[in-house]
Symmetry: C2
Subunit: 117 residues, 2 copies
DNA sequence: TTACTATTTGCTAATATTACCAAATATAGA
DNA sequence: TCTATATTTGGTAATATTAGCAAATAGTAA
């Protein structure tokens, strides 16, 4: 996403930057990666095997996460290990998961997850 | 986004559903709307005036947020008021904002926002 | 009824995202 | 050096998202 793509976009400070971080999370494969990395660092090859998609696809997803500061990478020999460096994403994902598990009433009743109380 | 678009997508339970909620947030205009609604319900016309974009654009952003259960709507006369029903999104957004405000070191150092501690 | 206002919906062009293949790069070991 | 492995990068086709216009819908009031 481009920053300030045109003048009609509201530019409340940090809005576009925050949207970039959230957009980086907004893909099932990248959510999976975030969850896996929350259990500890993993190399690209491990994630690729778990995901069952092309390694170049995994690499690009990781670069999206890295570009917004959600993960960092670290080279060891031939392998590159990725680490989650923004763990505050996890309680948020759990909150969403709890809300979604409330079956059919989810979309009309106020959120009742722990964070929302 | 389609659910289970093909067989190579990992189907850890709830992954796609969570991605849909996060994707609904992943736009500067919708983040703005979420922030504004966190201060209280607002009608489409109020949001439209604040945003300075076409009312149909605002209406469509609101329908994205509604479809995943982030907001609910309520008709009063000619006007439709929207209410935030998933306030647990706010601490998450604050966390991201704090991380982003840590200037140039953000993308290489572990998150140190309150949630991540 | 007609007129007016608020909102939603249908449509379209512009833009962005995605997955994969193929090629490039980087590192290790023989 | 040559070979093999791990990862990234470039390119491309398919798909998805977006904004705004125009038209449709819904509610109010004369």
């Amino acid at each position: 996403m481009q920053i300030n793509k045109n003048s009609s976009v509201i530019d409340r400070p940090g809005l576009e930057a925050r949207a970039l971080v959230i957009k980086a999370m907004a893909h099932p494969t990248r959510l999976f990666i975030i969850e896996e990395l929350s259990r500890g660092k993993k190399c690209v090859c491990e994630l690729t095997e778990m995901l069952g998609v092309d390694v170049s696809t995994v690499s690009k997803h990781l670069s999206v996460l890295k570009s917004v500061g959600i993960v960092k990478d670290e080279k060891k020999g031939l392998m590159v290990f990725y680490t989650l460096i923004m763990p505050c994403l996890l309680p948020f994902m759990n909150c969403i998961a709890r809300v979604l598990n409330q079956d059919e009433t989810t979309s009309v009743n106020p959120c009742s997850c722990n964070n929302c109380k």
